[in-house]
């Protein structure tokens, strides 16, 4: 039905060279679960039917490893691999939970976390926890390597900042030892469905009934990008969880999003649900 050119380099150097030559004309392809749909819809930002740079033959981009302070993920790691990998399950359990909601088994077997990130949907399930963790994205070009914080990498719905000759080569996710985290989301049906609102949380309390010394909250599908609930984080920091505090936090978080009415849900519901989901997490920690 559609014709397009695919380049399939077998090593990163070759891929970077191609990208340096063709720039934005050449669109990277990992799992293809978003790219091929975009091509089919003729909606792609890069023109009608761009050439594709198939990264799947570059073994080097398919990895996961642990450093003393971080987990590093290569762009070819699929959602299924992430949701089942022992390193993720041990160090970033809410991410394992989040990506298991994506699409269907077939989509999770093909789709990658890097693709989910580059597609930059505010409803992307992989993002809220990466926002909580202040993940960094490594972008390589033929002559440079840059590290970009995730909040700067994603600039709007479907928009990322990336050098036209750059390729996303690594996602660096800081470990948060002894944090308790969760990812809560609501969706229209139980499979093959974008979330209509989601909340990612990472919280640290030195002792389990004492004060919260750190908490990070990220909201999905309620603003043009995933957003952090920084006022609510501030409210909760250095406090002991009580029912009243949870009520207050659940009201405040609703002011930190700017949801819209769209084909999936409506503004007032989304707003109210950020409060409900956050409260559910906090109640589970009392």
């Amino acid at each position: 039905m559609y014709e397009f050119e695919i380049h399939s380099p077998t090593n990163l150097e070759e891929a970077l060279k191609l990208k340096a030559t063709f720039g934005a004309e050449l669109h990277p392809l990992a799992g293809g679960t978003d790219v091929l749909v975009s091509i089919r819809n003729n909606h792609i930002n890069w023109g009608e039917c761009p050439s594709l740079l198939n990264l799947n033959k570059i073994q080097k981009l398919h990895f996961i490893r642990e450093t003393p302070d971080t987990i590093e993920i290569g762009p070819l790691l699929t959602h299924t691999e992430i949701s089942t990998h022992p390193l993720i399950r041990k160090h970033i359990p809410p991410l394992a939970k989040a990506v298991a909601f994506i699409g269907s088994p077939q989509i999770r077997n093909r789709g990658t976390i890097a693709g989910n990130m580059c597609h930059a949907s505010p409803a992307a399930d992989s993002l809220p926890i990466l926002y909580c963790r202040n993940a960094k994205i490594e972008i390589q070009t033929h002559n440079r390597t840059n590290l970009v914080p995730i909040e700067e990498f994603i600039t709007g719905p479907g928009f990322i900042t990336i050098d036209p000759s750059g390729i996303l080569t690594k996602i660096i996710i800081p470990k948060l030892p002894n944090y308790i985290g969760d990812y809560l989301s609501l969706r229209q049906r139980q499979a093959l469905s974008c979330n209509v609102v989601s909340v990612g949380v990472e919280m640290f309390r030195p002792n389990c009934e004492g004060k919260i010394t750190d908490i990070r909250i990220a909201l999905g599908a309620v603003a043009p990008t995933v957003v952090r609930g920084r006022k609510t984080e501030k409210l909760l920091k250095n406090k002991v969880l009580t029912e009243d505090l949870i009520d207050e936090a659940s009201s405040l978080i609703q002011t930190e999003c700017i949801p819209i009415d769209d084909v999936r849900s409506n503004k007032s519901y989304r707003q109210a649900m950020t409060g409900v989901l956050l409260a559910r997490f906090l109640f589970s920690q009392i």
């Binding site: 269907s104 609501l186 229209q188 049906r189 139980q190 499979a191 093959l192 469905s193 084909v263 999936r264 849900s265 409506n266 519901y269 109210a272 649900m273 409900v276 559910r280 109640f283």
Partner: protein, 770 residues
């Protein structure tokens, strides 16, 4: 006995192996492709159509407008108001204005821009309440009323005077998309200058035959329609192929080439018919001991821009509005109103799911007000054999209603599960404490008039053809279609049983309008029943031929012969012969080995002036019980179990029957809980693909228990009455009644999405401060 056995589907192997030929798989040499120039406006005058001939030529495209139509520019359905290509006014977004034909789909699509249509926008109407009797905007006639039906019985005012309790409600139901797995498509192949064959994915080839003949001005005998393997229809391929086949036929007429048109999912959802959205106001009165005294219904259906099937859909809606209950005083006023939305049409249930949602909500509300178990309340009012229905018909035959209720009640363990709905304020307090998941159970009891009924009785006849082959196998043809429901299988079982031939040796020919006479549409759950009756007629004639030739061989009189298993047996001489061997003898003796069958449906009548009559020949009955879990904080409803008990007269094939029950129930779950077409403010469709129009997936499928009740219909083949539509019809109210039973909140608009349930909870919190 081959009847009543769960034999494997005739078409299963081909479909599972991917070998069935759908329209997409079919190609002809030098085939061309069609694209349609569609209106971007909901209501506008066409001031000018300018063709860029240079551009069209470059792309090798042929362009056709209304002017190029050789016959009548009317797609015939019922009221003849639907042009194939708009001439002066467009009345909905997506209305075809011109066709473009080119060598490949790409050029055809590009050539759309060679057609410049100049529009002058007109004021538009989308809301039927506003459109009814509108003083200046006229979409249909001079009051926008497309159709009107009524039911009247007794004295409605007296009925309300006699009532101890009166419940009133207003209900809204959405446009539902059929979401068949195969999108619509057709290929027209011209033969010479005045003959054409159209292949396509469709339900009603004879409708298409007439539509194409009218558009091209050809004699019907030179228009042949062949149904290709059809990947689901659900009503969506009833009238729509009339339009699509006419478009390709026009393309083929203009180019003298085979012309193919297969809709993308978006094109299909945006431009083809859906279930009519409806607004139903209902007032029900009952005595304090739970007996109905009066039912009044004001029923507005949104017809969209053209009448298409609306009058027939409204007829069924009007006649099902009171439900399967006795009620002495009835007043149902049903109107279908034209608006500037895409024309709405047939969809499984055909106008009845809308009114049944309202009716079953009302029944539940009264039962709750009277503090009666909703099943007990229904038992006091349900139609039993010999009772008179709200429209005056005496229901004297095949009334399995109470048996379905009894079985659904028993199998769902209703007795132990049902308790009155909890107090709403209590639910909210508990919910705050973290107990936000609440379980509930709900019921609906419904009925369905099988077949076309009085509104379509002129179409209510079926042809068939049965031919014995020398090897003892048999082939048959009918005019109704296989659309996934299992008709080929069930009809093959009937033929096998009638002739004593093994099921594996009975084969159906593809449906082709040149094989049997116009047999009416494949709708109204009529294929098994009415093609079945026609095949019985053909087989009976063949048996007579066979017995005459075989009688001497069995030293018997032909009137003493009968079929038992695979043998012809003489009751007098006690001799027998294998049917297979008998057929060989028939061939040897040059006997006639083929016969055409014919069937005319039993009589029906309806007097709309009086609002009374005998609208359908026979009724099917059903009870649904749904068990749900409601999250009071998020409004999410999880449907856990559904018990669906159906009186089908006779289950010819219990396996395909269960398939129908499960599939229909799930589509009902979609209607009640998930699915809704979302329109743009300009009258276009926002939810135009399966990523935004969400049907339930496997993971959303509740545990469905199909319960088969058999109260045979004396005129049905082996007692069968049809099952196509009923499984969908009563699911929505069973779900919303279960939601009420869980949390004490009523839902008056479906689908019961989390947003809507949550909003209903918020509204109730507002009206009843703690």
């Amino acid at each position: 006995m081959v009847i009543g056995k769960p034999l494997p589907r005739k078409d299963a192997r081909l479909k599972v192996k991917g070998e069935a030929q759908y329209i997409y798989d079919l190609s002809f040499p030098d085939e061309h492709f069609l694209a349609v120039v569609r209106s971007p406006h909901a209501h506008a005058r066409i001031k000018k159509i300018k063709i860029d001939n240079e551009k069209a030529k470059q792309l090798g495209a042929t362009i056709g407008t209304a002017k190029e139509i050789p016959g009548k520019n009317i797609v015939h359905v019922i009221l003849d108001d639907w042009p194939l290509l708009a001439e002066n006014v467009v009345r909905h977004v997506g209305e075809p204005v011109a066709i473009v034909v080119a060598k490949n789909p790409k050029n055809a699509k590009k050539a759309i821009s060679a057609v410049h249509v100049e529009y002058e926008k007109l004021p538009e109407l989308f809301d039927p309440t506003e459109a009814k009797d509108h003083s200046s905007i006229h979409i249909y006639g001079d009051n926008n009323i497309v159709s009107y039906w009524q039911q009247r019985k007794g004295d409605i005012n007296k009925g309300f005077e006699e009532a101890d309790i009166i419940v009133e409600g207003e209900y809204r139901t959405p446009a539902q998309e059929h979401a068949y797995i195969e999108t619509q498509g057709c290929i027209a192949v011209p033969l010479g200058h005045d003959e054409i064959t159209v292949y396509g994915s469709m339900q009603c080839p004879f409708y298409v035959q007439r539509a194409v003949a009218d558009i091209l001005g050809y004699p019907w005998s030179k228009v042949t329609i062949i149904q290709t393997t059809t990947g689901g229809a659900f009503g969506g391929k009833e009238d729509q192929p009339n339009q699509l086949a006419s478009l390709v036929a026009l393309g083929a007429y203009l180019t003298r080439k085979p012309v193919k048109y297969i809709l993308s999912r978006e094109e299909d959802i945006e431009n083809t018919s859906k279930r009519h959205p409806a607004i139903i106001r209902m007032k029900t009165g009952a005595s304090k001991d739970g007996v109905l005294t009066a039912v009044q219904v004001e029923h507005l259906m949104n017809s969209g821009a053209y009448a298409t099937l609306t009058p027939a859909v409204l007829y069924r809606g009007c006649l099902h509005a009171v439900g399967p209950y006795r009620c002495p005083n009835v007043d149902v006023q049903s109107y279908a109103i034209a608006t500037n939305l895409v024309p709405f049409g047939a969809f499984r249930g055909f106008g009845s799911p809308q009114v049944l949602f309202a009716c079953e909500e009302q029944m539940d509300r009264i039962a709750a007000e009277l503090n009666i178990d909703p099943i007990e309340f229904r038992e006091r009012n349900l139609i039993k054999q010999g009772d008179t229905a709200s429209f005056g018909q005496i229901i004297d035959n095949s009334v399995g209603m109470l048996e379905t209720l009894k079985q659904a009640k028993k199998k769902s363990d209703w007795e132990n599960k049902w308790k009155p709905a909890p107090d709403f304020n209590y639910v909210m307090e508990e919910s705050k404490r973290g107990n936000y998941k609440w379980s509930g159970i709900g019921i609906s009891t419904i009925f369905y008039g099988v077949g076309l009924g009085s509104a379509g009785k002129q179409l209510s006849r079926t042809g068939s053809y049965v031919q014995l082959e020398p090897d003892g196998s048999v082939r048959f043809a009918v005019g109704t279609t296989e659309i996934g429901q299992g008709m080929i299988t069930v009809l093959s079982q009937i033929v096998a049983s009638e002739l004593g031939i093994n099921y594996s040796k009975v084969n159906m020919m593809p449906v082709d309008t040149s094989r049997v006479p116009d047999s009416g549409p494949t709708v109204a759950s009529r294929a098994t029943t009415f093609s079945g009756r026609s095949l019985q007629n053909a087989c009976q004639q063949i048996r007579s031929l066979m017995f005459e030739i075989i009688a001497p061989h069995l030293e018997s009189d032909s009137c003493n012969l009968q079929i038992e298993g695979n043998y012809i047996i003489s009751t007098s001489s006690e001799k027998k012969i294998l049917v297979e061997d008998a057929i060989e003898i028939m061939y040897q003796e040059r006997g006639q080995v083929a016969k055409a069958g014919w069937d005319v449906a039993p009589p029906t009548d309806y007097d709309n002036e009086k609002g009374q009559g005998n609208p359908y020949a026979i009724y099917a009955w059903c009870s649904n019980i749904a068990e749900v879990e409601v999250d009071t904080q998020t409004g999410t409803v999880l449907i856990k179990n559904i018990w669906a008990a159906h009186d089908v007269g006779r289950a010819i094939n219990p396996q395909t029957l269960k398939g129908q029950i499960e599939g229909g129930t799930l589509q009902g779950v979609g209607y009640g809980r998930y699915e809704e077409i979302i329109f743009t403010p300009e009258g276009g469709i926002l939810s135009n693909n399966l990523g935004t129009y969400l049907v339930p997936t496997t993971k959303d499928t509740p545990n469905i228990q199909s319960i088969i009740v058999e109260d045979p219909w004396k005129s049905g083949p082996y007692g069968a009455k049809g099952i196509g539509e009923q499984p969908l019809m009563g699911i929505a109210p069973a779900i919303t009644n279960a939601i009420y039973n869980a949390i004490g909140v009523r839902i008056s608009e479906i689908p019961a999405t989390p947003e809507r349930v949550w909003q209903a909870i918020q509204d109730k919190l507002q009206e009843e401060p703690e």
